[in-house]
Symmetry: C2
C-alpha cells in the first residue's frame, strides 16, 4: 500500500508525479468522454501512430507536437474522431491543445491530443472546451483510475496494467490504459493506449523501448482487420522515481525497463483482444517453427483475421480446415503437408492431414473462454504469438448500428 490509497493501486497515476481527470462534456450520449493525463513535472514522450493513409487531425497534430523536447499532458476525447474533418478539424485539435497548455501553464506543443469516435463529423468545440476547463480544474492523483473508463467506446471493460521494477535501487512504476473493441488490427497503434512512468529515461531510448514493446504486443492483436484513422500509443516518462537515467539500450536497467513496458503493453493488448466487439473468447494463435519471422507473422495475421476461423470458434466448432486454409492464403511460404494443428492440447491435423480426434474433448476445450490454436510448420525456428477474439452475432449488432 506504499504507493497510496487503494484507488491508485493500478491506475494511470500510480507512477509518481502524475495527475489526471476524467469528465463528461456531452460528446458521447452518456458517461465520461474527456480525460487529461498530466505530469506535474516536464516529461519526455514517445508515441506510435496508425499507419492508415487517412489520419485524423489529432494524429497529424500529435506527430508534430512530438518533436518538442518535453511534454506535460495528454488530452483524449471519445464521442468523435475528428477525422476527415479537413482544415477546420486540424484547427479544432490545435485549439484544444492550446487551451490545455494555457490552463496547465505549458506550451501547446507539450500537449499530445487523441480522439476516438465517429469519423467525418466535426467535434462540438463548445462542449470540448468546457470539458477541458472542467478537467483541468479536477486534476488529482486519485482521479487516475477513472481515465480507463472515460476512453471506452464500445469496450465493455476498462483496461489497465501496471508493473513495478527496481532501477538502481529506486522503485520505478509503469502504468497503462487502453481502449479497443473494434477497428483493431496491426500495423500500428491500432487503438488508443496511454502509458505513464516515473522512470528517468532519455527521449530517444524511450522511443526505442516503446517501438520494440508495441511490435510484440499491440501489433500482434487483431479484432477485425480494420485499422483506424486515430490509433495511437503514447508514453510519458517524468523521471520522478529519481533512478539513474536510462540513456543507453545496452544496459541491464534498459532491458528490465523494456521488458516491463512490453508486459504492460501485452497485458493491455490481450485485454483489447478479449474485449473485441461482441467477443466471448480470447483466441491465442501460436505459429511455430516457421522458416522466417515474416512467414510466421503472415500466417498469424491471416488466421487471426479470418471470419471463417473466428465464427467457427464462436460456434465452438473444431473446424481446423479453415485454419489451414487461412494459413494457405496468407502469402507465407510453407509446405502444407508438414503442418500440424492443435486446438488447445488436442492434435487435430498432422502433416496437413486430418486425424481422428475426440469431438467431445474438442468441445470441452472450445467451451472455455480462452482458446489456443497452435500451427506447427516444421520449417524452421521462428515463432510468433498473435491474439484475436471470436466473431459473434454481437459484432454485427454493434457495428450495424454504431452511429445511431
Amino acid at each position: 500500500m506504499k504507493t497510496g490509497p487503494a484507488l491508485i493501486e493500478n491506475s494511470i497515476t500510480s507512477p509518481q508525479g502524475f495527475v489526471a481527470a476524467a469528465v463528461r462534456c456531452g460528446l458521447k450520449k452518456s458517461g465520461d468522454d474527456l480525460a487529461i493525463i498530466s505530469s506535474l513535472r516536464p516529461a519526455v514522450a514517445a508515441a506510435v501512430f496508425t499507419r492508415n493513409l487517412v489520419q485524423a487531425a489529432p494524429v497529424t497534430l500529435s506527430r508534430l507536437h512530438l518533436k518538442s523536447r518535453q511534454h506535460r499532458a495528454l488530452l483524449v476525447n471519445s464521442g468523435g474522431a475528428n477525422a476527415c474533418t479537413g482544415e477546420v478539424g486540424l484547427e479544432d485539435a490545435r485549439q484544444s491543445a492550446r487551451l490545455v497548455g494555457e490552463l496547465l501553464g505549458c506550451d501547446a506543443q507539450e500537449v499530445l491530443v487523441a480522439s476516438t469516435g465517429v469519423i467525418g463529423v466535426r467535434l462540438n468545440m463548445t462542449k470540448l472546451e468546457s470539458g477541458i476547463r472542467l478537467a483541468a480544474r479536477q486534476l488529482t492523483r486519485e482521479s487516475g483510475s477513472s481515465v480507463a473508463e472515460a476512453i471506452m467506446t464500445t469496450d465493455t471493460r476498462p483496461k489497465r496494467s501496471i508493473r513495478r521494477i527496481k532501477v538502481g535501487g529506486k522503485e520505478v512504476t509503469i502504468a497503462g490504459v487502453a481502449k479497443g473493441a473494434g477497428m483493431i488490427h496491426p500495423n500500428m497503434a491500432t487503438l488508443l493506449s496511454f502509458i505513464t512512468t516515473d522512470a528517468a529515461i532519455s527521449k530517444p531510448v524511450l522511443n526505442r523501448a516503446l517501438r520494440s514493446s508495441v511490435d510484440k504486443s499491440f501489433n500482434r492483436v487483431s479484432v477485425d482487420g480494420d485499422t483506424s484513422t486515430n490509433d495511437m500509443v503514447a508514453v510519458l516518462a517524468n523521471g520522478a522515481a529519481a533512478n539513474p537515467m536510462i540513456d543507453s539500450r545496452s544496459t541491464k536497467d534498459y532491458e528490465r525497463f523494456e521488458r516491463s513496458l512490453t508486459e504492460v503493453a501485452t497485458e493491455l493488448a490481450i485485454a483489447v483482444a478479449r474485449d473485441g466487439e461482441g467477443a466471448r473468447k480470447l483466441i491465442t494463435i501460436l505459429v511455430r517453427r516457421a522458416a522466417t519471422e515474416r512467414d510466421a507473422s503472415l500466417i498469424g495475421q491471416a488466421v487471426a483475421t479470418s471470419p471463417l476461423v473466428k465464427t467457427a470458434i464462436a460456434g465452438e466448432d473444431a473446424n481446423w480446415g479453415r485454419i489451414l486454409a487461412a494459413a494457405g492464403r496468407s502469402g507465407a511460404r510453407f509446405d502444407p503437408l508438414k503442418a500440424d494443428i492443435r486446438i488447445g492440447d488436442l492434435i487435430v491435423a498432422s502433416r496437413g492431414t486430418g486425424l481422428p480426434f475426440s469431438e467431445e474433448r474438442a468441445r470441452e476445450i472450445l467451451a472455455r473462454d480462452e482458446v489456443r490454436i497452435t500451427i506447427d510448420l516444421h520449417q524452421g525456428d521462428h515463432e510468433i504469438t498473435e491474439w484475436t477474439c471470436d466473431m459473434t452475432e454481437g459484432y454485427i449488432r454493434i457495428n450495424a448500428d454504431y452511429r445511431s
Copy 2:
C-alpha cells in the same frame, strides 16, 4: 424456343451436345450432392484454380488432367471437400475420375473433378461411387437444369447464366453455373463454376479467354476474404455449333466470344456476391480515377472485405468514414484529401472531408437491396468494379455452426 423445351432455356446443357445429371448419394444431409456434366463429343477444356497454398485433392488431380488434349466430363460433389486428406484423398479423387471414365467410355484423364464441403474429412467412397453410377445412367439434356442446385452448399439460390452469339453465321451458346456463399475471395477461382459452350475454339485460345474473363468477374468478388482450398472455374467447349474455329485472339469472333464469356462469368460472380452467406444486399464498389489499376484494385478489395463497412451497410448506416479508412489501409497510394465518396448518387464526402447530407435520403438509398459505393480518387484514369455483400448476423449463424 428453338433450343428445346423450357427446362433447358437456361441450363448448363443449353449448348448443343451436352448432357448432365444430378443425383443424391447421401454425402449431404439432404438434397442432390453429386453431378456429372458430359459432352457427347470430345471437348477442349480450360480451368483456373485456387491460389491457396493448401489445395484439395480434386484440384491437384484436375490440374494434372488438364494437360490432356481433350475432355469429356466434369464430376462434382458437395458434402465433402476432399481437402487435407493426404495421399488416400488423392487416390479417392483418382478413383472417382477412373470410374466416370469407365462408365462414359473415355480416359480418366478426360475427366475433371471438383468437390466442395468440409475440409479434412475423407469422402465416403461407397456413397460417392454409387452416386457416380446412378448419375452416369441418368445423363440427359433435360437434367441440365438441376446441376445448379446439386452444387449448392450454403447457397440459397441456384446460379445460372447464359449468352447466345453468332459466330460465322452459326449460333453459339455459352452457359454457366456457380456455387458460392462463403469462402469467397480473389484471387482465384474462389468458388466452383462450370461453363459449357458449343463453340469451336482451340484449347490455348479458350484458356486465354477464360483467364481474361475470370479476372474481370470472379476475381472481383469477395464475400469474406477467405479463399478456399477447392475453388475452380472450368469451361468445356465441344465445337457442336460448327462455327469456323476460333483459333486466334486477334479476330472479331474471338472478341465477341470473350465478351460473352465475361458476361456469363460476371453474371455468375454477381449472383455469388448477392447470395453471400447471410447477405441481404449486393454492394457494388466502384473505384474511379485511380493512379494505377493496382491502386484501384487494392482499394476495391479492402473496402469489399472490411467487416466494418459490410456491417454498416447491413445496418443501413451511411458511415462513410469506414469506407475511407478501409481505402487508407489498403496499401494503395492516393491523397485522401482528394477523394470523393458517394453512396448511391448521394455525395457524402468531398476531398476527404465530410459533407452535410440528407440522412433521410441516405436511408432511402441504403434500404434497397443493391447499394453502390463510389470512391473517386482524382488521381488518374484507372477504374475498377468490385462486388461484395453486406455482413449480417446470418453470416455468423451459418458459419458458427457449419460442420454440425
